[in-house]
Every structure is written in structure tokens, then in C-alpha cells.
């Protein structure tokens, strides 16, 4: 075993890359849940975004167009969820699960011809002298555009939710949809927009997996990342800043686990690869134990269907 091969700054850099997909998907789900909707189909939207982004990038030759394609596909998938839960008042948990099953199957069907294809590479942003700072620069200033966009999204979503009127309306809808409706806000319309935003973000996260993190297309390649993103929102108590922290912790565990495998630790790979899921469960338990019966900060109307009688 050789642990000295693990360099802290390089580890941090790969941690950020590993956490970006779940950060993007988690941010989307956070906004959706703040609007009072529980979409458990993140895994399905992510994998659809992964193949759609991959396919558009391969055909157009541009990773940026690929990301746009991934986001569009994720949003399209979420629209199915939106119609079922908002207009047809279907159970949100069952619909989310259906979305995941459908997404996993559909992506495999579409992705049949893309196994083994090579996506166009996305260049790192050149940040000039910043990238040359030893250590810190290696960890934070040698990434691709999407990483910085995901950081910007954390700030933007924080600002939107806590400092703008539209964000306040969205939270009102999520806390008490009957009251929001009585005040004249369009509950269904606001929720559909939030759901589509969540779908687009999950699609971006999926596309990041297939275009940068891996970068290849394989069936079922998200392997639970979408579910971890949902769990992360609980961990973050529905706050964007804490979501970033959570994503880094999980990214760190994933990367450390991979590094330990490479370093040749005397634990079989299969046991090490359980660790992200076990840690997620542990975190969920700790959060629920601290929050009592109802998880801390959960929106009041989370997961409940809204049916306007008047």
C-alpha cells in the first residue's frame, strides 16, 4: 500500500469534478422541493441527460451543444412528471419512480449505438496566473466551464430563493399551497416551471457524467448518483450553500475510495464502492435524528398534491 502517492491538491481537484454531477442535480431538486414537489425521478432524468448530452455532443462535435442537449432532454423528461403530478394529480412518489425506471430503460434503448463512441473533449478554462498558483491553483483554477457554472448556480439559486420576490413566491407555494393560491399565485404554473428547472439541472448533471467525468456512455452509468442527489437535499436542509458542502463531502468520499483502490489497500474494491451509499444513509440518519419527526427545514407542502377547488 502506498498512500504517499495521493496528493492533497490533486485529490481536491478530482473531488470537485466528482461532485459536480450531484451538485447540479441536487441544486435542481432543491428548487423543486422548495416549491413543494418531491420528484424522485432525478436518477431517470440524469441518465436521460447523460445519453442525450453525449449523443448531441458526438453529432455536433461541440460539448457545449451537448450540455444544452442534456439539459433539454432532462427538462423534457421532467415535463412528463409535471403533467402527471400537476394536472393529473398522480402520486408524486410513484410517478418519480416511474420516471426513473423509464429513464433507465429509454436511455439504454437510445444509447445502443453510442457504446464505445468518443465524445469531443471540453477544454479547461485558462485562468492565466491563477491556474499557476501551486497547490491551490491546481485544486480550484484548472477546471472546465461547467464547474464554474455550477458554483455560479449555487450563488444564483441562493440569491433567487432568499433575496428576490419570485423566490419568495416559490417558497410560499412550497410551504402552503392553499394560502399561496388564495393570494392569487398560480401554484400549478410555478410548480411546473420549478420541475422543469430541476429536470434541466439533472440533465446537465447527467451530461457532465458522460461528457467529462467518465467520459464515455455506458448503460446505467449514473448508478445511484440521482438518488444521492435527492438525499443530499435532505442533508442540506434545503439550503444551497450546504448543498455545495454536502456534494464536496460525497465527492471526496468517492474520490478517496477510488484512490484507495488504486493505492492497493487490502480491502476488496466491491466493499470500498459501497462507501458512498453507506455514508449517504448515515448522513440521512443523523439529519433525521437531529430534526426530530419532521426533517429540519422541509417545505410544508412537500410531496402533497394541489387541487384547487375554487
Amino acid at each position: 500500500m502506498n498512500l504517499s502517492a495521493i496528493d492533497f491538491w490533486i485529490l481536491t481537484a478530482s473531488l470537485i469534478v466528482a461532485s459536480t454531477p450531484i451538485l447540479l442535480a441536487g441544486l435542481g431538486e432543491l428548487v423543486v422541493e422548495r416549491a413543494g414537489v418531491l420528484n424522485l425521478g432525478v436518477e431517470g432524468m440524469m441518465i436521460t441527460g447523460a445519453i442525450a448530452g453525449f449523443a448531441t455532443a458526438v453529432h455536433s462535435g461541440s460539448p457545449l451543444i451537448g450540455f444544452a442537449g442534456g439539459a433539454a432532454a432532462g427538462a423534457a423528461m421532467s415535463l412528463i412528471f409535471a403533467v402527471l403530478t400537476q394536472y393529473l394529480l398522480a402520486n408524486q412518489m410513484a410517478t418519480g419512480l416511474a420516471l426513473t425506471l423509464f429513464g433507465l430503460g429509454f436511455s439504454a434503448l437510445v444509447g445502443q449505438g453510442y457504446v464505445g463512441a468518443k465524445p469531443p473533449m471540453m477544454g479547461k478554462l485558462d485562468l492565466g496566473p491563477l491556474s499557476d498558483i501551486p497547490g491551490f491553483g491546481v485544486a480550484f483554477f484548472r477546471h472546465d466551464l461547467m464547474v464554474y457554472l455550477s458554483f455560479a448556480a449555487v450563488v444564483a439559486i441562493w440569491y433567487f430563493l432568499s433575496r428576490t420576490r419570485a423566490g419568495l413566491v416559490l417558497r410560499a407555494v412550497g410551504e402552503n399551497h392553499d394560502a399561496a393560491h388564495a393570494l392569487g399565485y398560480k401554484v400549478v404554473r410555478i410548480r411546473i416551471l420549478a420541475i422543469m428547472f430541476g429536470g434541466a439541472m439533472a440533465g446537465l448533471g447527467g451530461a457532465y457524467l458522460s461528457l467529462i467525468r467518465v467520459p464515455l456512455w455506458t448503460e446505467g452509468m449514473t448508478s445511484g448518483a440521482g438518488w444521492i442527489a435527492v438525499a443530499l437535499v435532505v442533508f442540506a436542509s434545503w439550503k444551497p450553500g450546504r448543498l455545495l458542502l454536502g456534494a464536496w463531502i460525497f465527492g471526496g468520499i468517492t474520490v478517496l475510495q477510488l484512490n484507495l483502490q488504486v493505492a492497493g489497500v487490502q480491502i476488496p474494491t466491491e466493499y470500498l464502492s459501497m462507501s458512498p451509499y453507506l455514508i449517504t444513509i448515515l448522513v440521512l440518519v443523523v439529519m433525521s435524528a437531529m430534526g426530530g419527526r419532521k426533517a429540519k427545514g422541509a417545505p410544508g407542502a412537500l410531496g402533497r398534491s394541489f387541487h384547487a377547488t375554487h
Binding site: 416511474a98 437510445v110 438525499a231 451509499y277 440521512l284
Partner: protein, 362 residues
């Protein structure tokens, strides 16, 4: 303008009709999906729903497969339906299925190569306990800390899958297997085999157990106090609380029972059709069973029929993979679509659709 009016109780007619309607709509939408992918839609639908049962060339092989696939689906779905009725969402049956198989296999390998009639029953018991304990983890965490059982049971599926891979290439690897991953073949070891009971039917002990579970669940829900409490909790949680039903006990009973049935399904699979613990042993029965339970309206008889139908899509999917080179996962897309239509049509059971003029505030 269309207005929805909530029915006081779900319409019985629509509850029975919507699953059939959902299947028909899925066939149409699925056909369109295959057409968009450049396959002949009529051929695809015929290959999936008709050929497994009636094609002269394949039916001899695929007809018995119907029971082989339906057995685990029904057994798992019956367990899940109890929890779903009470609003307890065990989504991780796939993991409990795997853990049941691993626990049962461990007992079988312990006795290998001894003969003995007692070995198989012990394996079944181990499978039951293995699945039950795995299902009780999210149950206990929910009762103790209020942790969301959906997420925990689901994340445990990935843990179980990793453990399965670890077993297949590590502890349980066949020492006489020439270095290939996978355990000894239980179907070939007489004391642990779960063979076909009547040749050419696909009927094995797991299928028999599934049928028994259907009857038991029917009796439980219709005639037993526990079944009544489960139904009461699902429909009126507060009323159930006042009548003295302990929510914690109900969570543990439902999670434990569904885990136990899923574990048994895994054990019957590994000793029969599956044959061995291997990396690709899990085949998604645990997830499909969720659809079976919902399509069957959480009703034991309905689950029996839904299990047979989804077993048909499994076999038809394999046939389509072979005949039309459709990928294996396309059947999962099909099943997801079925669930979409079912959930959408549920509106008709729960609401009346009224055409009304837009009301003006007075």
C-alpha cells in the same frame, strides 16, 4: 372549461378498468416508440405479447418461462403491497431479494457436498431471514429516527449489489470453477436444488409459494385484524392512531414481511432458474414488482394477474432482444411507460371530470 370533482370514494369500475386501459395505451405508445427507432411496431408488439405464448417455434420454451418469471414478481409484489397500502414505501425489494439469495446460498455452501433433506428448508429459512433483516434496516431507522424509508431502502440496493459482486468473485466463488466468477451451481447440488415440479410447466417451489402468498394476503386483508389495520392506516392514518394501531409496529411488520418475501424469492431463484450467485444475478425483479403491485391495485388477485402480464413482457423482451435486436433495457422503458399511463388514468378513479363554465368571482 374542464373541472375536476373529487369522488368521496374511488370509483370501483374505473379502478378495475384503468389497468386494462393502461396496458392498451402502453402497447400503442410503445409501438410508436419502436417505430421512431426504426423497428416495425406491429412486429415488436407481436413479439413481446403474442409470440411467447402462441408462436409455434418459441412457445415450447417460453410458456414455462411465464411461471418462472411471474413467481418472484408476484411473491415480491404481494409483500410490497402490504406496505404500500399503509403508506410505507419499500422501494428496495431488489436489495432484499439479493440478500435473501446470498444468505440462503451461504447455508447451502456450508453444507456442500453433504446430502440431506433438511438442507433446503434451512436455506429457505436463511433466505427469509436475510431478506427480512435487510428490509428491517430502513424500517428500524424510520421508527427510531424518522429517516425516509424510500431513500434508505433504495440506497441499500446498491450496497447489496456491491456485496453480491464481492461474494461472486470472493468468498462464494466456486473453487472448482476454473477461476470464473460465480458460486457453485445449487440447481446441480441435489440437497439444495429447487427443480421444476411438473416437467414443462416452469412450476417450482417458488411459484407455489407465490400462489400461497396470494391466498394468505387475501385472507389477511379481508378477514384479519392486522389486514384491517393496514388498510385503515393507509386510508385514515389519524383514525388508525386513535383506534390503537401502533404506527411503529406497522412499519416494522410491513418492512419485515416485504423483505422476507423478497428474500425468499431470491432464494428460490438462486436454487432454481438462476442456479448460482453471480455478478449479474439480480435482474430487476425487485423494481418491476413495484409496477406489479401498483398495476394489480395492491389487491392480491390483481397482483397475480399483473405479475403474469409483466412476466410476459420479460419473456417477450428477451425474445425481442433475440429477434429484433432490441436492447434488454427497452423492456424497462416499456414497463415505466405502463406505470405512467396507470398513474395518469388514476385520475378517472379518484375524480369526476365535469365540463363547466368558468366561474366569476362575486
Amino acid at each position: 372549461m374542464i373541472r375536476l370533482e373529487k369522488r368521496p370514494t374511488p370509483s370501483r369500475t374505473w379502478v378495475a378498468v384503468t389497468p386494462v386501459l393502461a396496458v392498451l395505451l402502453t402497447m400503442i405508445a410503445g409501438g410508436l416508440m419502436f417505430w421512431a427507432l426504426g423497428k416495425n411496431p406491429f412486429e415488436a408488439i407481436r413479439t413481446i405479447f403474442w409470440d411467447p405464448l402462441f408462436n409455434e417455434q418459441f412457445a415450447a420454451y417460453s410458456r414455462p418461462q411465464l411461471l418462472v418469471k411471474a413467481g418472484p414478481l408476484i411473491l415480491i409484489a404481494i409483500g410490497l403491497s402490504l406496505g404500500f397500502r399503509a403508506g410505507i414505501w419499500n422501494i428496495g425489494a431488489e436489495g432484499q431479494y439479493i440478500m435473501g439469495a446470498i444468505a440462503g446460498a451461504a447455508v447451502g455452501l456450508y453444507f456442500y457436498p453433504e446430502p440431506g433433506w433438511h438442507i433446503f428448508p434451512l436455506m429457505v429459512a436463511a433466505g427469509l431471514v436475510g431478506g427480512m433483516l435487510w428490509g428491517l434496516i430502513p424500517g428500524l431507522l424510520k421508527v427510531w429516527f424518522g429517516t425516509n424509508e424510500i431513500l434508505v431502502s433504495l440506497l441499500l440496493v446498491y450496497v447489496a449489489e456491491s456485496l453480491l459482486a464481492a461474494m461472486a468473485i470472493g468468498k462464494m466463488k466456486n473453487p472448482d470453477g476454473g477461476g470464473f466468477p460465480g458460486s457453485r451451481n445449487f440447481a446441480k447440488y441435489e440437497a439444495s436444488a429447487n427443480p421444476e415440479l411438473i416437467a414443462g410447466t416452469g412450476m417450482h417451489l417458488g411459484v407455489v409459494t407465490a400462489f400461497i402468498a396470494v391466498i394468505a394476503a387475501y385472507v389477511l386483508l379481508q378477514r384479519h385484524m392486522l389486514g384491517y389495520n393496514i388498510r385503515l392506516t393507509g386510508q385514515a392514518p389519524r383514525a388508525a392512531r386513535f383506534s390503537g394501531v401502533s404506527p411503529a409496529a406497522l412499519v416494522l411488520i410491513c418492512m419485515g414481511a416485504s423483505g422476507a418475501l423478497a428474500g425468499m424469492a431470491g432464494l428460490f431463484e438462486v436454487t432454481g432458474p438462476g442456479g448460482q450467485i453471480s455478478i449479474d444475478f439480480a435482474s430487476g425483479y425487485g423494481f418491476t414488482a413495484v409496477i406489479v403491485a401498483l398495476l394489480g391495485r395492491l389487491n392480491p388477485i390483481g397482483i397475480l394477474l399483473a405479475g403474469l402480464l409483466l412476466a410476459l413482457t420479460y419473456i417477450g423482451g428477451e425474445l425481442a432482444q433475440f429477434m429484433l435486436s432490441l436492447p434488454k433495457a427497452s423492456i424497462q422503458a416499456f414497463q415505466g411507460m405502463l406505470l405512467f399511463f396507470l398513474l395518469a388514468l388514476d385520475l378517472l378513479s379518484n375524480y369526476r371530470i365535469r365540463l363547466a363554465r368558468r366561474e366569476v368571482a362575486r
